[in-house]
Amino acid sequence: MLIHFKNLNWGFLKAYAFTQIKLRYRHTTLGILWNVLEPVLYLGTLSLVFSAINRMELSDYVVYLFSALVPWRYFEATILGVMESIIAGEWLLKKLAISYFIFPLTRWLIAAIDFFCAFAVVLVILAFVKPIWTIHIFILPVSIFITSAAALGIGMLLAVAYTFFRDIKPLATTGLMLTFFSAPILFKADSMPMGSLQSELLVYHPVTYFAALFQKPLYYNCLPSLLDWQVTAGIASVFLGLGIWALHHFTPRFYFYL
């Protein structure tokens, strides 16, 4: 299985990912600046609307919302991008012997670059809005690593399924939408009445723990709990392992389904 990574053409992976980003903004006036402006506009609009709905002070809500929404957008973009990557790579995969891992990794790299641009913007905004900063934010690279691994693994599993069954895409999109609206990203978990069904269900919601990896250091000024780490690292390991295995195992059959 490791031979796939050994034979990966990293030079092409990098060149292809940067080409895709460059092409995205080729005919725009502001060019690559959109990579920073687009998340600012999106997050700004969402903050204004949902701070009013949630009746929270805007500056407080912005910190809460941004801390988990930006990682969620990265998580979602990675899963959907990686899922479509094998089908989208048909133009090359049917003509050249190239590792099938190239396209999922390229999509992940593109999502990661977008995420770091958006996250940098968020940190700048929070620098002005957030009153207290603590040392806990230095744990964020670990949070990003675990989130990346989980998203890549889930994406690779879906990429395999999508190659064989084209019905997977709408199902995955709907599943992600449901996951997002049911997770404590737009609303706070403690805004639910204690002991209510909703608050009980949030304990079993996996995104509660992934969100905590970012919300706790950035909003609550504390470290994620041991349970947060265990649940998220467990999910990430299982899905990444399964994703790599599935992609490796089904590769010889892909050609006939592209």
Binding site: G11, F12, A15, K94, Y257
Partner: protein
Amino acid sequence: MQEIIKIENVSVRFDHHATQHRSLRTTLSNLAKNRRAEYFEALKDVSFTIDKGETIGLIGRNGAGKSTLLRVIAGVIKPQLGNVIVNPSSRLVPLLELGIGFQAELTGRENCFLAGALMGLSKKQIQAKLDGIIKFAEIGNFMDEAVKTYSSGMYARLAFSLATEIEPDILLLDEILGVGDMFFIRKCTARMQKMIRSGITTIMVSHNLDFLVTQCSRLIWLEHGQIRLQGEPKMVADAYRKLGDQK
């Protein structure tokens, strides 16, 4: 002679379900009705070897398995049965169509870097070859225009120029010389002859028998996914023509 490619009992079959029906509903319905998969055998128990420096021509009617065989050698298709062994130290460039790795929105220059990276070349190596590529392709200032604005001839010249400038050890060609005008074909033929003389191994698919007879050291005639005849080009071409006359 040093053996560079070995094809051992290779069989490839295409599943009709895979190529036609990809919905979950069809799959579940087939499972429920216990419907058996229907296969089309593109290659059946094909075996042969190719020595370093040989120029092989693959001939046969449409659907005989020529392009599938090229894709198997290129490693794009993994055969269900048999083995394909390609000398691992050889750089194999499959020109299954012109412009593999090209993106329509990118300029000629950007495409050279991207497709070069695809072939395993570094930026520096491509930069060093760029003048030669531009000179052969004769596209001058168009090198910095998006390739979607190129004429088919310009596109073909750039793609062929790039692929052959990479200096492959094994070159796979699938009917690509049918694309350009006669000047392009003449120019490409001259370059290929130069490459053949330099010891490169070439395997090409073409319906142009006269071209293959003059360029190849051996012809392989495929029929219904099997080797019908192989050997000295003129002998194989005559036998193939004879069959055509009979039909």
